[in-house]
């Protein structure tokens, strides 16, 4: 019997709320010897972890339900919230189910957190995972392939057997399937945002951080089918693209507030790991070469990546706004997030050139007061609906 939207969302909400990662523990307990590897935003090639028979687990911070006590003792007031809540998760034993942790190259804070993790969790595998900022196959590509090979060797050792090319190609195929499902979800939401509110889509996406990819792909498909089966009322909301939330996550209540204020979110940059690569990774030939080429030539623009030329700046945001029928952009960035906040004026200048309206605010993952955000988003939506040239 197929599941209803309510049942699917209830399951996703349960996974989202569970800061003890029970589903990961259950997955590990089901077969003795299973291992799980955590990763922080924005992107790691999860295919490598999967090919070793391990579970990649996205650690997206502690949200607004976690009381941060120990984590705060490691950070000054002017540093964002995600490293302190992630440390809190670690120091309170909630991440004990992880056998390793990857820290992607996103900013100086997460970079330095990798070294802190090495000191504080000496018995775990820890790796700072660098991606190239040079996008030539023979330069950045070669470097990246080597970095992935090191990760592959390390994970293979942890698994007790090397990761074969065949296993990697099979994992690439599995993740290709997943990418298609997630893209279908985004496409569906852009077409019918009233049918797939972002407060639900977000929970579905978060489930992808903890579930095995095969189950998750099915869950995404089930959600699209279930929500499409029951018509929901369409409102005269403003269609907006939300950007800046690629690392520290906004509280769910913030997303709900934006929607309640009269906005349909038609694109966002939540959990980019699932959409970082635009299309299928080649499933034949050298798998690391295929992963590298996809990253170098067919991947998302985001603040932690270098744009090679001025004309590239804001291209994804602009294309996405046009393609998804966005009427405006909301810049929602975590406080003290250098990449997002330094990027913002450049993106805003691109939007100005194209006369696309925008508004901006900051949040923390534990922001509690939503009234100002609701008012700001509401005013923005009104300005689009009532006063835009259209």
């Amino acid at each position: 019997m197929s599941q209803t939207v309510a049942q699917i969302i209830e399951r996703c909400q349960m996974l989202f709320d569970d800061l003890h990662f029970t589903s990961v523990k259950e997955w590990k307990a089901a077969v003795p010897g299973r291992k799980a590897i955590g990763f922080m935003p924005v992107y790691v090639p999860r295919e490598i972890i999967h090919a070793a028979g391990m579970l990649p687990v996205g650690i997206m911070g502690g949200g607004d339900q976690l009381e941060v006590i120990q984590g705060d003792a490691y950070y000054q007031s002017y540093i964002c919230r995600i490293p302190r809540s992630t440390l809190e998760l670690g120091l309170t034993g909630r991440l004990d189910c992880l056998d390793g942790m990857l820290f992607p190259s996103i900013c100086d804070v997460i970079r330095n957190l990798s070294g802190m993790w090495q000191i504080l969790f000496k018995d775990k595998y820890v790796r700072y995972f660098d991606v190239p900022q040079n996008y030539q196959d023979g330069v950045g590509g070669q470097y990246y392939i080597h970095e992935m090979q090191v990760l592959r060797d390390d994970i293979g050792r942890l698994a007790g057997k090397p990761i074969t090319d065949d296993a990697l190609r099979a994992s690439i195929a599995v993740y290709n399937e997943n990418r298609r499902a997630v893209q279908a979800l985004y496409k569906y939401r852009a077409a019918k945002p009233w049918q797939a509110p972002t407060s639900e889509v977000y929970l579905v996406l978060r489930a992808g951080m903890v579930l095995p990819v095969e189950d998750y792909t099915q869950l995404v498909r089930d959600y699209i089918a279930a929500t499409d089966a029951v018509a929901r009322p369409m409102r005269d909301n403003a269609r907006i693209v939300l950007t800046g939330a690629f690392c520290e996550q906004p509280p769910l209540s913030l997303i709900k507030s934006i929607e309640m204020a009269g906005c349909y979110i038609v694109d966002d940059d939540f959990m980019l790991v699932m959409r970082m690569l635009f299309d299928d990774v080649v499933e034949t030939g050298d798998p690391l070469d295929a992963l590298s080429k996809s990253f170098l030539h067919r991947s998302m623009q985001t603040s932690s990546k270098y744009d090679e030329s001025k004309k590239d700046k804001g291209k994804y945001l602009l294309d996405s706004t046009k393609l998804n029928g966005g009427e405006g952009v909301i810049f929602a960035a975590p406080s003290f997030c250098d990449p997002a906040l330094l990027e913002r004026p450049m993106l805003q200048s691109v939007l100005n050139e194209h006369k696309i309206p925008y508004t901006a605010f900051k949040y923390a993952e534990n922001t509690g007061q939503m009234a100002p955000i609701r008012e700001q988003a509401g005013t923005f939506a009104d300005s689009i609906k009532l006063w835009s040239a259209a």
Partner: protein, 443 residues
């Protein structure tokens, strides 16, 4: 040997200008920096192209091979900070849409541009013909040059320097940087300058670099003596100026470091302490290691809080931000490109947290320091994120007390003199008590 000089007068102040004492090498350094600003101001008139690049991991010797004038935006920002000009620049940039949360070096630089592109010395600063984005140890650099490019449409060349996440430089990291220098950086420099690359010219500059580096290390390590003849933080920022910026590889830098070394060796022979702006420090009461950059807007006031108490910073991590020479690295003319790669990869902020902790513990031991002081900079996540763990670990491993203060690089709004002074006084008390307790335990 020291000479009294006039410090830069505070803005619109009618108070008598205090006379500051400086070593001759400090004067020489100041003259070099001022001359570089003048050269930058006239570069385009003289048909010279200008490259802008960052301090840590800069490729100065290579850039000089193409006859390019060199502008360093962090230096511009700190010079503006010392001259009390940065506060307005930062607020101008914030009014122009930049967040209050982000790096104030960036905002001071962008604010300076908004204010008509006049440099710290009052000379105009030219728009760069090339932004050489050597991306060592700080993600903000990447956004900084993207922001400048967005405004001025300058050509940009990226040199991505991977981080030492595993605490070592792998062959893959070296190869990646070398390849970028050969395949991206040098062709860009040739294209922009119209000058063909000559590797022998690079070797010649690197020979000069190595000589200067050797002398700098001797100067910095002189602080192992008691009393220390230098201040390894407040004084060292003058000593590192030429070698971290547009002068490494020049004969005048070599000469500067030769003179500096002689001066310092003379001070050692005479058993003298460091020169402070108020003269020679009489008694060395506390020996500290400092982690983190200084505050520039109240630099002299900040320094005074130390020398008034007889505190000498014997060594600092900030003095290694443009090269960790004291652990053996020298530019190598026999392997010029590989050596440039090694240099970029080895700068202090490109080291991981465990490496930074090891280095500080080693310093405390080798320089017989009483403890560690961290000046945590709001603007600089590259330095600051993780410093509280550094503090704990260093205390645990060395048994020496550590203290924590907070300020900013060039934003005067984040310098609270009273708070910092209070904390420092408490810290010095703590060191004293520890000494008394230790002495009691011995007897």
């Amino acid at each position: 040997m020291s000479t009294p000089v006039q410090m830069t007068p505070p803005q619109a102040s009618k108070k008598p200008v205090p006379v500051a004492q400086k070593e001759d090498a400090m004067l020489l350094q100041k003259a070099m920096i001022n001359r570089n600003y003048l050269e930058l101001a006239t570069a385009h008139q003289r048909g010279k192209k200008v490259a802008a690049t960052f301090v840590p991991g800069n490729l100065n010797e290579l850039v000089m091979c193409f006859d390019l004038a060199r502008s360093l935006p962090e230096t511009n920002a700190l010079q503006n900070g010392m001259r009390k000009k940065s506060g307005k620049m930062i607020m101008d940039a914030e009014r122009d849409g930049h967040s209050e949360d982000v790096c104030t070096y960036v905002k001071a630089d962008l604010g300076m541009m908004l204010g008509g592109e006049v440099g710290p010395t009052g000379d105009p600063l030219p728009r760069p013909d090339l932004l050489l984005l050597s991306y060592t140890g700080c993600f903000t650099f990447m956004k900084w040059f993207e922001l400048i490019r967005q405004k001025y449409n300058c050509e940009t060349t990226m040199l991505h320097v991977p981080y030492q996440g595993d605490g070592k430089i792998s062959q893959n990291m070296r190869d990646y940087v070398v390849k970028q220098i050969k395949e991206n950086v040098i062709p860009s420099l040739e294209r922009v300058s119209g000058v063909k690359f000559d590797i022998d010219r690079l070797r010649q500059y690197m020979k000069e670099s190595a000589k200067a580096e050797e002398d700098l290390v001797q100067v910095l390590q002189s602080a192992k003596k008691r009393p220390s003849p230098i201040d390894g933080y407040f004084g060292a920022v003058y000593y590192i100026g030429p070698i971290f910026t547009a002068f490494r590889g020049t004969t005048e830098a070599t000469e500067y470091y030769r003179v500096l070394r002689q001066e310092i060796e003379q001070r050692v022979r005479e058993g003298k302490g460091p020169i402070t702006p108020e003269g020679e420090m009489a008694e060395e009461k506390y020996r500290l290691v400092v982690e983190g950059p200084p505050n520039w807007t109240s630099f002299r006031e900040f320094w005074k809080m130390f020398y008034d108490e007889g505190a000498v910073v014997v060594t600092s991590t900030y003095a290694k931000v443009g090269g960790v020479y004291d652990f053996g690295f020298r530019h190598d003319p026999e392997h010029p490109i590989e050596s440039l790669a090694e240099y970029c990869l080895g700068c202090y902020t490109n080291l991981n947290l465990p490496q930074r902790i090891d280095m500080i513990c080693k310093y405390i031991d080798e320089y017989q320091a009483d403890g560690l002081l961290i000046n945590s900079i709001k603007s600089c996540n590259s330095f600051s994120a993780g410093q509280l763990l550094i503090l704990r670990e260093v205390e645990k491993r060395t048994g020496k007390p550590a203290a924590f203060i907070e300020s900013d690089l060039v934003d005067p709004r984040y310098f609270s003199a009273a708070n910092i002074k209070n904390r420092l006084e408490s810290y010095f008390q703590m060191i004293k008590q520890k000494r008394t307790a230790a002495a009691g335990a011995v007897h």
